[in-house]
């Protein structure tokens, strides 16, 4: 525990550093000499060049036959890896490669995944899986989705196994752990462009590079989870293993790994989710699939199609997440002794039967005419249409509504009040907030910022932290990319600040949980808040009802004759009916549970899709960048704030109640202080997310490190790419260090844990 003395010492030193920082800023007004700023792109030393020659050295030279890393990586990428990718590509979307039997007809895949979902998690999961895959197929994105997933099914298992092995190694040997830890920390903060370029250079453009970048990106949590799981195997189980005379190998494979099953599968879940996020992002190096299509659609501002692709990606993400989580939860079940074998393996048998059955149907229907839905209906009924698509959904047969969504969105945005609002936000933010703030940061002398960061470091962790934090920023300063780094920093700080302003009150409101009865007695404010809560908890139900009614509206043919909202529309009444029915069935949902459910779902969305609403609302400018980061970072903020507040021990709030505290007093004197360490962790994650997203936002057009990084992708400038990436990582790590130290100290001081 820190003594009072040490704490006040720290405060004084930190204050001194801060004063020095301000002094330098003031001096700069008179003489710019103190602002030790290097011109852009020229580091104190030629780091990039040095790194380049280093990379060139280890790379080797294929043309001049100088052996190096490149020989190995090229062998892998042209040998086993490419083979695997080609095979899955052939099976899943019919790429013309060995074994040349694909593509497997989509209904066969849909049906087997459906059975798998039922086996893992019952009807709800089946509903989700079938819904997702049917949507993907019918909307006409099956091939795109399979292109994306064909890389995922190769990358995820590889990342899983390498992660597992490294996890075991770091559990076995503390030396390996010590080496891996900092590497993983950097890997987790490195912007993804920095994964991409080396992957391209070493592993050849296209799916192989995409797969490699994905594997590296998805591995760290697997390593951490494996090591964690192995460490937490109960010691008596281990002893029992030893006393049974297990050898080392037997201990590992029959005692440790099976006992750590849960953590390992949680690791797998994260691997899958990160793989999906990264595969989508590899669009930036020309990987075909959903990501590439989304990129193209956004480039040409086809918001409707982008929206549809976004929905597909989101649905796939949610499906994969829930399926793998269901696997984590699924405990082995026992059968009574006399159970016949087909009962034990019913899922496998049903799956196989359906799989083969649908392949057969596809064979039979291969020559059937490819009606569109409308044509099919004219021929008599929808069955004609279904028969036609049972092997493949042809281009014309997709049910994409891109154009009409476009129209609807444009119409919405052109509503005067909407336009006025977005315009006002855009104008106000850019002119009055963002640009002044950016210019202010850029005008600060380099030593001022370094000293301020060091002061923060000193405050939370003494000399060591001050050196780490200050040192990291000095490294950024001497890299030659200071201005761009500051712009990145400005974007991150602005977005996270806005997210806090919106997120904290929202989370506090949601964390109040069960809504009080709706009466006007206690005033208009509480009534409105209660009403908002009531509406809020009904959102998921309304969504579900909308899906049901919407499907009916579409497939019944009503969509061709009348508007959904028209008073004669059956769909509208269907919507109301289903909604009321659902409200009746699930009555007591709490705000916090609903909010957490929404946040949990949003958390699985690949970062890329957060760009869609941003561009939709604000077009292509700084506000869109900030907005996309804002909603992305809102997720961890909301989540941790709610959990922090919910985690306050009830006896403490009760003590406050008994002392006669008002709700506000209780919030500010008891709940918030106790929840603060947890909120800080959420804040930290928000910052990490922001540093990640700001790089993706380079797509919208920024002037920061991300933009420069994206440019390097076109060339072979590994050195520069690396330096830029490290700048981002260093800034992120500084925040991470300071915030986490602070949170740990608070926790210790409060006696939590």
């Amino acid at each position: 525990m820190m003594t009072e003395q040490a704490a006040s010492n720290r405060k004084q030193v930190a204050l001194a550093l801060a004063v020095a920082a301000v002094a330098i800023a003031i001096i700069k007004l008179f003489t710019p000499l103190v602002d030790l700023r290097l011109p852009e792109g020229q580091g104190l030393l030629p780091w990039a060049d040095a790194l380049d020659s280093f990379f060139n050295f280890i790379k080797g030279d294929i043309q001049n036959e100088r052996f190096g890393l490149m020989h190995i990586t090229r062998w892998i990428s042209e040998g086993p890896l490419e083979f695997l990718l080609d095979t899955t590509a052939n099976l899943m979307y019919g790429k013309n490669r060995w074994p040349k039997i694909g593509p497997v007809p989509w209904p066969a895949i849909v049906a087997s995944v459906g059975v798998l979902a039922y086996w893992l998690g019952g009807w709800r999961l089946t509903f989700l899986a079938l819904g997702t895959l049917l949507w993907t197929a019918l909307i006409g994105q099956w091939d795109l989705a399979m292109q994306t997933l064909s890389v995922l099914v190769v990358a995820a298992p590889i990342a899983f196994f390498i992660g597992l092995l490294l996890g075991i190694a770091s559990w076995k040997s503390s030396r390996v752990e010590r080496v891996l830890k900092p590497i993983l920390a950097v890997l987790q903060t490195l912007p993804f462009f920095t994964y991409l370029l080396p992957a391209v250079i070493f592993f050849k453009v296209g799916p192989t590079a995409g797969a490699v970048a994905t594997i590296v990106y998805a591995m760290p949590p697997m390593i951490l989870m494996t090591a964690l799981g192995l460490k937490s195997v109960s010691s008596e189980v281990v002893d029992a293993g030893y006393m049974s005379g297990s050898s080392r190998w037997q201990m590992l494979t029959r005692v440790y790994l099976p006992s750590a099953r849960t953590e390992i599968l949680v690791g797998l879940n994260q691997v899958i989710m990160l793989c999906l996020a990264m595969v989508v992002l590899t669009a930036f190096i020309g990987m075909p699939g959903l990501g590439a299509k989304l990129l193209a659609m956004m480039n040409s501002f086809k918001i409707g199609r982008s929206f549809e692709i976004g929905v597909t990606i989101v649905l796939l993400a949610v499906m994969l997440d829930r399926l793998s989580k269901a696997w984590v939860m699924k405990q082995p079940e026992h059968f009574e002794k006399s159970t016949p074998w087909w009962k034990k393996h019913w899922a496998l048998l049903t799956g196989l039967t359906l799989f083969i059955g649908f392949i057969g149907i596809a064979q039979l229907s291969a020559d059937a005419p490819h009606y569109t839905l409308t044509e099919g209906k004219k021929q008599g009924n929808v069955l004609q249409y279904m028969w036609g698509i049972s092997d493949e959904v042809h281009r014309t047969q997709g049910l994409s509504q891109g154009k009409s969504i476009d129209k609807a969105i444009k119409a919405f945005l052109e509503i005067d009040s909407v336009q006025a609002t977005t315009n006002w936000i855009r104008g106000f933010l850019i002119v009055d907030v963002l640009i002044p703030f950016r210019n202010f940061l850029l005008s600060l002398p380099v030593p001022t910022i370094v000293l301020l960061v060091a002061a923060a470091g000193y405050l939370v962790g003494g000399l060591r932290s001050a050196l780490v934090a200050g040192g990291f920023f000095v490294m950024v300063a001497v890299s030659g990319w200071w201005d761009r780094s500051v712009i990145t920093l400005y974007t991150v700080v602005s977005a996270v600040t806005l997210a806090m302003i919106i997120g904290l009150p929202l989370a506090i409101w949601a964390a109040r949980g069960a809504a009080p009865p709706l009466t006007l007695k206690s005033g208009v404010g509480p009534f409105l808040s209660g009403l908002a809560g009531w509406i809020f908890t009904k959102i998921p139900l309304a969504l579900l009802a909308a899906v049901v009614a919407g499907s009916y509206h579409f497939f019944s043919g009503q969509s061709e004759t009348m508007n959904f909202l028209a008073p004669q529309s059956v769909s509208l009444y269907l919507f109301v009916g289903v909604f009321l029915l659902l409200c009746f069935l699930v009555r007591n949902w709490r705000r916090d549970s609903v909010m957490l459910a929404i946040v949990d779902t949003a958390q699985t969305f690949p970062s890329f899709v957060y760009l869609i609403p941003a561009i939709m609302l604000f077009g292509i400018n700084d506000v869109a960048v900030i907005f996309s980061i804002l909603i992305f970072t809102l997720v961890p903020l909301l989540r941790y704030t709610i959990e922090g507040l919910r985690g306050v021990p009830p006896e403490m709030t009760e003590a406050a109640d008994m002392s006669g505290a008002s709700r506000m007093q209780k919030l500010f004197n008891v709940q918030l202080p106790l929840a603060l360490p947890t909120i800080a962790i959420g804040f930290n994650q928000a910052i990490m997310f922001a540093f990640f997203m700001v790089i993706i936002a380079a797509f919208i057009g920024t002037q920061d490190l991300g933009q420069e990084l994206q440019r390097t992708l076109a060339g072979t400038d590994l050195g520069k790419n690396f330096v830029l990436g490290i700048c981002v990582a260093l800034m992120a790590l500084t925040f991470d260090h300071i915030i986490m130290r602070w949170a740990d100290q608070r926790k210790a001081a409060l006696g939590l844990n």
């Binding site: 109960s234 008596e236 029992a240 006393m243 049974s244 005379g245 005692v255 026992h334 002794k337």
Partner: protein, 345 residues
């Protein structure tokens, strides 16, 4: 004891802490538990020397945290000891290499764990068969053997259940079955019956007694239950703060506590249930001719069992006979009554 002991521990120490070996070398010997604790170490086992003979059942008792489990773990080398030696059948186990240790555990030792230590991902059957599997027995045989012992512990019909689907007592029985499956020569039982109901507990005790008598198993048994200890023990060791306070036959522990702690520990026991005629008996030579008429009493009867006789029969001295009926000494009625009713104050 002439035959070689199965387990021989000499000056065994087990310290927990950052660098126990180094800290131990700075000790003079005989430091108190508190002093060691003040230095940031916990003395799990403190200078323990004892021997366990073949076919003997040694019961270890002591308060929670007194180091019973730790001692037993040292015997099976689940803990590396800080100092001293432990020999199992004359072999210093600290010197065994990995292979040797695995062999020792596969061929000789078995253990039942305090909190069961069942593998969560395996069914009852697979858990019980686990040690057999490690030894490389073939599937069919180990299944047969496992089913046998599962039947024995009364879990027939639950072979396919997973541990989490069983009650605490049932889980404990799986742990017992697992160690029964290999019938080891040396058995370490760490509170093996703590979660069982009295009926099954008695059955299990009988089973272990039977095995011990029939097959000459050596057993180290930890329990908190005096009745159990008295029923099973050849000798009892009482531990406090990692050290063995006294190790002796049950009646000597009760009649002749060596330390204040042991006396307090055994205070509550009804002595007449422990003390046998034999231990109050006076040699024929010392009786110098007092009359010893009438039926003799058996030397291995407890005073409690003789109570009715002691009250009804007025003879001042009872002759004591051994198993074969041979008179080996005499029992003063007064001293026996003292044990039965408590001494007159």
């Amino acid at each position: 004891m002439t035959a070689q002991p199965v387990i021989a521990a000499r000056n065994v120490w087990k310290l927990f802490g950052p660098d126990p070996k180094r800290y131990f070398s700075s000790l003079q010997g005989g430091e108190s538990f508190e002093k060691i604790q003040a230095a940031g170490y916990i003395a799990g086992v403190r200078d323990v020397s004892l021997e366990v003979a073949k076919g003997e059942m040694l019961v270890v008792m002591g308060l929670s945290g007194s180091g019973k489990s730790t001692l037993v773990r040292c015997f099976s080398r689940l803990h590396e000891i800080t100092a001293g030696t432990i020999e199992v059948e004359g072999q210093d186990i600290a010197k065994l290499d990995e292979r040797g240790l695995i062999e020792l555990r596969r061929r000789k030792m078995g253990m039942v764990f305090q909190s069961f230590g069942l593998l969560p991902h395996r069914t009852v059957l697979e858990n019980v068969a686990f040690p057999l599997e490690m030894r490389g027995q073939d599937r069919h045989e180990r299944r047969k053997r496992a089913l046998e012992v599962i039947e024995l512990v009364g879990l027939a019909g639950r072979e396919e259940y997973f541990p989490r689907e069983l009650s605490g007592g049932q889980q404990q029985r799986v742990g017992i079955a697992r160690s029964l499956a290999i019938e080891p020569d040396i058995w370490f039982l760490d509170e093996p019956f703590s979660a069982l109901d009295p009926l099954i507990r008695r059955e299990m005790q009988d089973e272990f007694l039977r095995l011990q008598e029939l097959l000459g198993k050596t057993i180290v048994f930890i329990t908190h239950d005096f009745d159990e200890a008295l029923r099973l023990a050849d000798r009892i060791a009482i531990m406090k703060d990692g050290a063995v306070e006294q190790i002796d036959t049950p009646d000597r522990i009760v009649m002749d506590p060596q330390t204040e702690y042991v006396r307090k520990f055994t205070e509550e026991i009804e002595k007449s249930r422990v003390v046998m005629a034999e231990s109050l008996m006076i040699d024929l030579a010392q009786l110098n001719g007092q009359s010893m008429a009438g039926d003799p009493v058996k030397s291995n009867r407890t005073i409690h069992e003789l109570a009715r006789l002691l009250i009804n029969d007025q003879r001042p001295v009872f002759p004591v006979a051994d198993e074969s009926g041979q008179i080996i000494g005499g029992l003063h009625r007064q001293s026996a009554l003292d044990v039965l009713l408590g001494e007159e104050k």
